[in-house]
Symmetry: C3
Subunit: 348 residues, 3 copies
């Protein structure tokens, strides 16, 4: 593809030689004379100057040094769009594969693709153009919106409602029963039936092998019409995340791999939680807050906070604690020396 | 359903108006005049007084304030029983789905349900009335007891024996080979064949995407007739738990999400391990002990202990350490000040 | 089997009575008179002296006390080989199960076994003698080498290339899209298409429910011909491990259960990472280094290092910090006492 063609396809203005032939995309460091690279800001100036790329996606005010480029208001996003042009991914063909098992009363929208050996239960509803890959199980009564994509080995349990354009990656389990038990009068354990399911808003993405548990009627509603475990719109969960019963995750929030939220955690909007984070149950993590990797909030987090550590504290305090911790063995010696100097018996 | 009918169905004594019409269940905070709520003890007195619920499940000595209720020796358990009455869940129909693949010599008990595309290997045994959901794989020779339920996408490997009434949730993997390797004389790695499998006692529940590894003959037996990785009866594992080869988990113990036990850990009876806990290998965690969330025992835990932290210490000590840690940056300043006062050269 | 026969089968020299009848294998502690046990070194001298085993695998210079044994240069490895002799595991029969769905243009090598309900996508390639178990999905275009074994419920996505003799355990997901997003000019989120896939070298083993994410063209190449997420040869990943996009794991390295590497982590050769470890992104973990259980490197780790803690520090320093941490509450009191003695106002 010529650079001018790419610019036309992406509707971006060209500077320099539109005839540069492009065969692929690469990072600034790796790109060769037939590859497109991108620059997001001033900190890449040196790498840009050294780059062997044939053409670039550059932000508006970035000095081009006379090199051929497309000007972009969001170079990384346009790089992503260019990936789709250079490496088109064939979509699964619409239709129901003969080996799939679709209940007679399941409702399939127009243009749906149901892959080999997928199983769609009684009364389930699949929205138009949604792609169900092989080995997906949709339990009876579950609902999936339009233009969604459910990858192989995902399991959508009863009482789950999934929005439009949601991507569920392989092995994710949505709507398994929450971890709730109680004791009978005789002391034996009884499982609470988690009949309230899960609701996932539009444009969410659920990572591979992530689990989102169903809720039960004893969980609080918090102003929603029902008590399902809930993800808002545009919530992105990485791989291996665990969302317990009754959690409620606000719009546009992001949770990185291997994190685990205990029951009834309320996560606000535009929250970012790093990898392997955890929350104690029944907490509120405020809008726009950032929970650093491996941090574990044990009490409510105020909106806009940035926290780190176990239990989580303000990230500046955490930085000081981490620095001080390394000096702790030395500190013991120093205190012992002061005690000796003062004749105090300090060692216990 | 009228409150009086519900009382009869649950065999609980009625107080007040038996004609209250109930359409569902909810928490004390959310319940409206046609919903049933429950109270487990005195700490809910204020919420009870404010509740708009039409009726209640109340413990024996809790003051009813003249409101209609059923008296219950275990209100949360009776709430769970009521959930089953209000939200009945249709059980999968008995029989073998035509798309399932059942080996000719597999043994299926009476009333078994084998779902679409399930695969039952040669010589496997499935107990009476057990429900196998779609996309379950039962490897050759594995055994599952009566009245069990194996959800879609669970994988039961060779040499696994599962007890009665066990629930295995979606994506759980039982009996994959343990993480055991050794070096050949030439230094290359050799996998130890993990041929001893896993034994799971009656009434256990295994969470979604949980993994329980098989054992091998070199693991110690600890008084059991064989060396399988073992769960006792009524063991409950949450989602994403990892049980390594040769572990032995005692009756009635509970392990929360994302925890991981290293090889040959012995967990006693009635142990509670919180979320994201970990144990070093070959430890014993004593009966009735409690390992707090994110704690990591690195040596044996005495029966009845309550531990927290990495590595785990008594929870009272941990509380003091956590409080002191926050003061650590300040402590460094204080010691420096003392050193200055005494003319000691402390900064290194 | 007689001990002499076993020695012949394993090509190991016999000492003592070759007529000992063996029916199985067990640990030193558990083995009875018809069982074989093994000893790897001097630290097992006392257990060996007490062992009731009928015969032993002993290293060259270990004193046999006159007991019947086979001499072995690698007793644990020979124990593993003996396990295969005593507990032979039937291999899946070659051929394609009638319920499997294999695309017309998929290429299957000689002697391949494709299990029930397995789905092999268009243009996929499966090497000779490889065993695909039931419910495996191989996406279009993926490639698996010779003599590999892919267990039930594993999902091999597009653009994944797996080497020879690789074992992928149940529920593993290889090649799901990495966790990469950016913002469009209007602030909405856009997913980066992860079209570069994953490459897994020969002789790797991938644990159950482990996830390895695909890379995209913007990731650095680091001297490799492409930008796939990469595992070298003989890399062993335990259960529930997460490898993010663009990681590169060197030959012969080992990562234990529940660990998670953030994006573009470079792990050297012969690295050992314990359970529940984590790395921040874009780090290099040097050859031959050891990252202890639950440790989290937050900066590069030099070759040959041994680190522990969050964030990870040298393991000797960590040991001192852990010891000092337990004394931290007491240290606060001691400093307070010194302050009082000197008339300094220390409590804030």
């Amino acid at each position: 593809m010529r650079l001018a063609e790419l610019g036309a396809a992406l509707s971006l203005p060209l500077e320099g030689d539109g005839e540069v032939a492009l065969t692929g995309l690469a990072s600034l460091e790796d790109a060769g004379p037939n590859e497109l690279a991108f620059v997001t800001g001033a900190k890449f100036q040196a790498a840009f100057a050294k780059s062997r790329a044939g053409a670039f996606l550059l932000p508006a005010k970035f000095e081009s040094l006379g090199r051929s480029c497309l000007r972009s208001p969001a170079p990384y996003a346009d790089f992503a769009r260019a990936v789709d042009l250079f490496y088109p991914r064939p979509a699964p063909a619409p239709g129901v594969h003969p080996s799939a098992v679709v209940a007679a009363d399941a409702v399939l929208g127009a243009g749906v693709s149901i892959g080999a050996c997928a199983v769609i239960g009684a009364g389930a509803r699949i929205g138009a153009r949604t792609r169900i890959h092989p080995h997906v199980t949709v339990y009876p009564g579950a609902e999936i919106g339009e233009d969604a994509e459910i990858h192989s080995g995902a399991h959508i349990r009863e009482n789950v409602r999934i929005g439009k354009r949601v991507v569920v990656n392989n092995g994710a389990v949505i709507g398994a029963p929450g971890f709730g038990f109680t004791s009978r009068a005789d002391g034996t354990r009884l499982r609470i039936p988690h009949v309230c399911g899960v609701e996932i808003g539009d444009d969410c993405e659920i990572g591979a092998n992530t689990t989102i548990d169903a809720s039960h009627p004893g969980h609080p509603r918090r102003g929603h019409p029902d008590v399902r475990t809930r993800l808002g719109v545009d919530v992105i969960l990485d791989n291996g995340v665990q969302i317990a019963h009754g959690c409620d995750i606000g719009d546009h929030s992001t949770i990185c791999a291997h994190s685990a939220l205990a029951g009834s955690t309320v996560v606000g909007r535009y929250v970012f939680m790093g990898g392997m984070t955890a929350s104690a149950g029944h907490l509120t993590i405020g809008d726009l807050s950032m929970v650093g990797a491996m941090a574990a909030p044990s009490s409510d987090i105020a909106p806009g906070s940035q926290v780190l550590g176990v239990p989580a504290v303000d990230r500046r305090l955490w930085g000081k604690i981490v620095a001080a911790k390394k000096r702790l063995p030395d500190l013991l010696h120093r205190v012992r020396r002061l005690e000796k100097r003062l004749g105090v018996d300090g060692e216990d």
